[in-house]
């Protein structure tokens, strides 16, 4: 596959996440954002997307389908209630749909874990910000130990959690729980999300707890740091702040800050998700065969 393949993309949703995708694609040699679609015209998000030099449209997925363009990749940064309809209407166009909403209907990709499989799928789910931040560490630990119970508590700054996410908290919890189950092969999983109003806003924070017999501090620290290092190739602001082993319990805390552009420094929750989305889209550009159309 030539390294100069450029895929045409569109973004559904003009919130913070949609805008960050647009921003990132300006720096991607493989992705050309041709359209950003919002719900209503003259929203702040659409104006900002236009300011970044992107064509915009209002009217949701209908407007996207009526644009007369064909897209190789569509990013869905709307919400979990609307996503199934988006897939239903886009599947037949042959576009790859990368889902940034917490929906459980597709192949789940976590780039540092199974990112190389992304190009095999037309419908890809990115779970949630907490899932993207926790699964690399939890999956790595589960390769070495047999977890009896896994718990993940994500804390996101209030200003970085928009209305769609607030309405999708159930889907967030259930999709993240399901994904952690799948990637750690552990039936007993609990996930919670806190929205913190602390001022100034604190970085996105993930507390992971794993109960597993026979764990020891030294190998655990190495496994966790290796997973974190891999994460940093994609999300430079990913940092393990604490990793302790007491009895049979591993407790890891990670924080994610943003390191670029228009994103406020605390919005690591958006950063992990948009980084995963771009990585996944680029896998399609780098795939050794044309995407079936």
């Amino acid at each position: 596959m030539p390294a100069n393949t450029v895929l045409n993309t569109a973004v559904l949703g003009s919130g913070l996440l949609g805008l960050d995708l647009v921003e990132r694609m300006r720096h991607s040699p493989h992705l050309n954002c041709r359209l950003v679609v919002g719900r209503t015209r003259h929203s702040r998000g659409l104006d900002q997307a236009a300011g970044l030099g992107c064509a915009t449209a209002a009217g949701g997925v209908t407007a996207l389908l009526g644009s007369g363009q064909s897209f190789d990749i569509v990013f869905d940064a709307t919400n979990a209630f609307e996503h199934p309809e988006h897939w239903g209407r886009l599947a037949g166009t042959g576009a790859v749909l990368i889902d940034l909403t917490p929906t459980r209907s597709s192949a789940l990709i976590v780039p540092t874990v199974n990112g190389t499989q992304a190009a095999e799928h037309q419908h890809i789910g990115l779970i949630s910000c907490g899932g993207q931040a926790a699964i690399p560490v939890l999956h790595a630990l589960a390769q070495h130990y047999r977890p009896q119970y896994v718990e993940m508590v994500a804390t996101a700054a209030s200003v970085s959690v928009g209305r769609a996410s607030r309405l999708n908290l159930d889907q967030y919890v259930e999709t993240t729980q399901g994904a952690i189950r799948q990637f750690t092969r552990t039936p007993a999983v609990k996930t919670m999300l806190n929205i913190s109003a602390a001022t100034p806003p604190q970085p996105f924070r993930i507390t992971m707890t794993m109960v597993a017999p026979g764990v020891e501090q030294n190998p655990v620290s190495t496994i966790v740091e290796t997973a974190a290092t891999a994460m940093r190739t994609m999300v430079p602001g990913y940092r393990v702040t604490s990793c302790t082993v007491t009895d049979d319990i591993i407790r890891v805390i990670a924080e994610v800050t943003t390191t670029r552009g228009r994103m406020p420094v605390h919005a690591g929750n958006l950063e992990v998700l948009s980084a995963a989305a771009i990585h996944t889209a680029e896998q399609h550009a780098l795939a050794p065969k044309e995407i079936a159309r």
Binding site: E151, L169, V173, K190, M192, N194, A198, Q202, T207, S242
Partner: protein, 339 residues
């Protein structure tokens, strides 16, 4: 002059009290207390894990009983009292609401940090759709202004809340603080307003009276004040005081006092006391439920619990951020070592 208003007393002894016993209440404890307050005519009895539906976890402690077991046990024991449950969006989900309402829960309270009423939209709607009564709760209400509370409460009413409730989760208020807030809220919403006090500064009953005088029509209180740290507003004292002010509650005070004796004997190792730790958390405006993890972290790192509370207050930590506590203690210990 109009007669003093009727006040609805809401009893979360079997939910908020759980914080004081690591969520370990068993079936017989729940059954006996619920039956006793039901007989005394307490109109609403709230049951569950201390942090509400679906909250049993390492983060805040695993409960002895499941939500199913607690709700079923309480429901069986209640003949007149209505059964209530609490939920925090992000911790519990719609599936938990279905479970609770299937168990005969009459009222579900959806709680959010005081500035985050928008997270209650979905679940308040679901509760209404399922036919139960939906209440909106603002936690840690001292962390924002009266004006902001008066903007947050109408949001919840707009989402379907049939009552709005402000929690003084940290026990930080003085009566004038309560008067100002309840006055602002009652002017802003057309649904009943409730107040939930904690006793860290010894003001819980006085604050509750101030709330009633400012227009609150539901007051939360627990037998012997059973709750985290310094405890909650003391139920039997509140009802006696409201009677002296002429407010009717519909509760048989003698039977309630007996129920409180039963609570002291069967639910708690000792009644709550305003110890120095609780005083520190009230002053710092930090969630009372942090007491146990703060003491554990203080011992582990060899730092003074007052310093941990002060730092948690400075960081504006909220319930659910228990994972911050060991971090704060470690940071304080490192700072001291580097001096």
């Amino acid at each position: 002059m109009t007669a003093p208003a009727q006040v609805t007393v809401h009893d979360p002894t079997l939910r908020d009290g759980q914080h004081a016993v690591r969520h370990q209440l068993d079936r017989e404890q729940i059954r006996a207390y619920a039956a006793a307050v039901d007989a005394a005519g307490v109109p609403v009895v709230e049951v569950g894990h201390g942090n509400g539906l679906g909250a049993s976890s390492l983060q805040v402690g695993h409960g002895r009983l499941s939500d199913d077991e607690m709700l079923a046990t309480a429901r069986e024991a209640l003949t007149r009292s209505r059964l209530a449950a609490l939920m925090l969006p992000g911790w519990a989900t719609t599936a938990d609401l279905h479970t609770a309402i299937r168990h005969g829960v009459d009222i579900v309270r959806v709680a959010a940090h005081c500035t985050e009423a928008t997270v209650t939209e979905r679940h308040l709607g679901v509760i209404r759709e399922l036919g139960a009564e939906a209440h909106g709760v603002l936690l840690m209400s001292h962390m924002t202004s009266p004006g902001d509370l008066a903007e947050q409460c109408p949001l919840m009413a707009g989402y379907g809340a049939q009552a709005v409730c402000v929690f003084d989760s940290a026990g930080h208020y003085l009566p004038a603080d309560v008067t100002e807030r309840i006055t602002a809220i009652t002017a802003a919403v057309h649904v009943p307003v409730a107040f939930h006090g904690h006793n860290n500064l010894g003001m819980a009953v006085a604050n509750s009276v101030a709330a009633v005088q400012a227009g609150a029509r539901t007051i939360d209180a627990c037998a012997r004040g059973f709750g985290a740290g310094a405890g909650n507003t003391q139920l039997e004292v509140l009802v006696a005081v409201l009677e002296r002010y002429g407010h009717r509650t519909g509760i048989d005070l003698r039977r309630l006092a007996d129920a409180a004796d039963l609570a002291e004997k069967t639910l708690m190792p000792a009644p709550p006391v305003i110890d120095s730790t609780s005083l520190a958390s009230g002053l710092a405006g930090v969630f009372s439920g942090f007491k146990r993890p703060v003491l554990a972290a203080a011992e582990q790192e060899g730092v003074h619990p007052w310093d941990i509370f002060a730092e948690l207050g400075r960081r504006r930590a909220i319930a659910g951020q228990e994972d911050l506590i060991p971090d704060v203690a470690r940071t304080l210990a490192e700072q001291r070592a580097s001096r």
